[in-house]
């Protein structure tokens, strides 16, 4: 029914989430459940790869807001990578670059994580 998919990968103890399709009000709860599941497993180093993300609504951005504090309290981070310029624009107009580390590639984010661990 929905054209939104979440895929999980792991690379050297860092959880990578691939988002695909439309992250809107309808699908935001799925994304939230995914993040919640990872945090419940005490995994706090998270990369969200937006390479195949074609749309993000406020509710989708809200998921990032809802968990960043908890993740950072546990000495982790949510880094966001591979955004198309359209997606970046949405993050940008709402001021997200002030709060989140947004990186060009997944490799950059992985490097940054391994350096800090």
């Amino acid at each position: 029914m929905t054209n939104f998919k979440i895929n999980f990968r792991e690379s050297s103890n860092i959880q990578i989430i691939d988002l695909k399709g439309y992250l809107d009000a309808h699908t935001a709860p799925d994304f939230e459940n995914a993040i919640q599941k990872i945090i419940n497993n005490k995994q706090y180093n998270i990369i969200v790869n937006c390479k195949n993300l074609s749309y993000i609504s406020s509710a989708g951005l809200g998921v990032f807001m809802a968990y960043i504090e908890e993740v950072r309290k546990n000495k982790g981070d949510i880094k966001i990578t591979n955004m198309s310029s359209k997606i970046y624009n949405v993050f940008d107009i709402l001021g997200f670059p002030l709060l989140y580390e947004i990186m060009n590639t997944e490799e950059d984010a992985l490097k940054k994580f391994t350096k800090s661990i």
Partner: protein
């Protein structure tokens, strides 16, 4: 002019050739930042005019200029904004200014700035360049010409850059508004399709956090007359009553701008509330949103507050819809239960009546809207005898139908014991008295028919007196028996015996037949019933039954308030 000087001022030519201006123009008009343009401008000017100090101001408002870049000296932070009272029309030498006590003159003198060159684009002063020559000498004519040209090119590039930046800002603001509109649309669509309260609140929270960039907030809703927090992301230790008491704010307000007591302001600050947004329905405050600081302390704009107000009202409408939906679901559930109960009850009545040689038997129960407590039965006793029964439990609804099911179970369990009917009725009465309260009664008519001898033995425990229409048109009422069931334990019941003959018609009925009312409130009555039986006595039991039912239904119009239960036995 440059060409004319070329012959005797060779070094000027190398320093001030047109090519260098062209190069400069090419660089500053390519895709570079404003800062890059200013840096390139100041360095080119200082290099070409052999300057040891340089400064560039840009106008931020009338007479006020902001220092953008400085070379060769350090300017105190608090002096970066400077008010220049003199009109910047052409090149000004600081030491030639008459009003030496003006603040801007003092600052420039103190920092040894020698000359100001205005940056003018289309008669508009954008800013100025200040320089100090190594030689401290006045600018030569060639130098003046050159710096004027360079400044004009720089001014054009700066003006263009500023207007592009302005456009980008306008675009960004537009983008933001489009995004807000999309979010509203998105939420409206989604809210109207979800009717689960928790999910509505969750989705609202995510959208608020995402769109506004706020992590802490509380949603407070009026339930009955009381405000209650339904969701909060503030710290658990906060005093919830502070938020619940904010329903007096009729419009979205910033805490920094509200008129309130010092105490309230302090409490709001302690919780971390930055803005208060009411949720209104039909002009009445039905809830409050209290929101905390935004990402990195970005201030709330009026548009932000209006946006939160809009989605807050969407939330309110959606929650109201979900409440109405839940109510409808509950109601439907009760109705479904009643329907099932009615089906079960109907299932307990005999579906196919047994057939007995020499007797024509038919019965029906037409239930009203509600489950009722009417009962009829035909039970095989042995080869020679069968039992007919009709009963009416007081009241309606599920309790009555439960008691009816009980009664049926008792009778069916006791019949095989072959007790006398008076003993059977006594035991049923005792059981009913033990198991029900004082407010429930049952009227029961029970009869046993001896097929061979055509004799009918009966007990009437308070039931509507059945008719026996004899062959000779005489009427007989079957009234022997006793008290209705459930009134008093250990009462005894008398049996009556009737000798039947061929042609007799026996009609058992409940008060749903005799007391059916017409729209004027007049009862159908036993007379009318008797007339139908008399007029149809030569027809089958089924025809008599159908005729009674159709007459009663015709009489009472559309509204049937009680069950119609009827059993007709014809002796042939």
């Amino acid at each position: 002019m440059l060409n004319h000087k070329k012959e005797n001022r060779a070094d000027s030519v190398t320093r001030f050739d047109v090519n260098s201006l062209f190069e400069f123009s090419k660089v500053v008009n390519s895709d570079v930042s404003l800062q890059f343009i200013l840096n390139h401008f100041i360095l080119t000017a200082m290099g070409k005019l052999l300057c040891i100090r340089g400064i560039v101001f840009l106008k931020i408002e009338e007479q006020t200029f902001h220092t953008e870049t400085v070379r060769g000296f350090i300017l105190d932070e608090e002096k970066k904004n400077i008010v220049i009272t003199q009109k910047l029309k052409s090149i000004i030498y600081i030491n030639s200014i008459k009003k030496k006590n003006e603040k801007w003159v003092t600052i420039l003198n103190k920092n040894e700035i020698q000359v100001l060159i205005p940056l003018i684009f289309k008669n508009d002063v954008l800013g100025a360049l200040g320089i100090t020559k190594l030689s401290r000498k006045k600018l030569t004519n060639e130098e003046e010409t050159y710096i004027k040209s360079l400044s004009n090119i720089a001014a054009a590039a700066i003006a263009q850059k500023l207007s592009v930046d302005k456009l980008i800002n306008v675009n960004r603001e537009l983008d933001k508004q489009i995004h807000q509109a999309t979010t509203l649309f998105d939420l409206g669509k989604e809210f109207s399709s979800i009717l689960n309260r928790e999910r509505v609140i969750k989705l609202f929270s995510l959208s608020l956090m995402g769109q506004i960039g706020v992590r802490q907030f509380a949603i407070c809703l009026k339930e009955g007359n009381e405000m209650k927090i339904v969701s909060s992301r503030f710290h658990d230790s906060i005093d919830a009553s502070v938020i619940c008491n904010l329903s007096g704010f009729e419009n979205p307000s910033l805490v920094s701008e509200i008129v309130a007591t010092k105490k309230l302001k302090k409490e709001l600050k302690e919780i971390g509330i930055s803005a208060i947004i009411p949720m209104k329905m039909q002009d009445e405050v039905k809830g409050v949103l209290a929101v905390g600081e935004r990402i990195a302390g970005i201030p709330y704009t009026q548009t932000d507050l209006e946006y939160i107000y809009s989605i807050g009202n969407l939330l309110l409408i959606s929650l109201e819809n979900s409440r109405l939906f839940q109510e409808a679901v509950e109601k439907q559930k009760i109705e479904d239960d009643l329907l099932i109960a009615r089906e079960i009850q109907r299932g307990m009545l005999p579906k196919i009546l047994p057939k007995y040689a020499g007797y024509d038997l038919d019965a029906a129960n037409i239930s009203s809207k509600h489950v009722g407590g009417d009962y009829y039965d035909v039970i095989n006793l042995d080869d020679d005898n069968f039992i007919i029964a009709i009963a009416d439990v007081s009241g309606k609804g599920t309790p009555a139908s439960l008691l009816m099911a009980n009664l049926q179970a008792m009778i069916r369990a006791l019949v095989p014991l072959k007790l006398s009917l008076s003993e059977l009725t006594k035991r049923v009465n005792d059981l009913i008295c033990e198991s029900t309260g004082n407010d429930r009664f049952i009227t029961l008519f029970l009869a046993s028919v001896d097929k061979k001898n055509k004799s009918l033995t009966y007990v009437n425990a308070g039931h509507n007196l059945p008719f026996v229409l004899r062959k000779d048109d005489k009427i007989m009422r079957l009234e022997k028996g006793g008290l209705l069931l459930g009134v008093m334990k250990s009462t005894t019941y008398e049996e009556g015996i009737v000798q039947l003959v061929a042609g007799d018609v026996l009609v058992l009925f409940t008060d749903g037949v005799s007391e059916a009312m017409n729209p004027d409130g007049i009862e159908f009555g036993e007379e009318r019933l008797l007339e139908i039986i008399k007029s149809r006595k030569n027809e089958s039991a089924e025809t008599i039954k159908e005729q009674i039912i159709s007459e009663v239904q015709k009489y009472s119009g559309d509204y049937q308030s009680d069950d119609i239960t009827l059993l007709v036995l014809k002796v042939s």
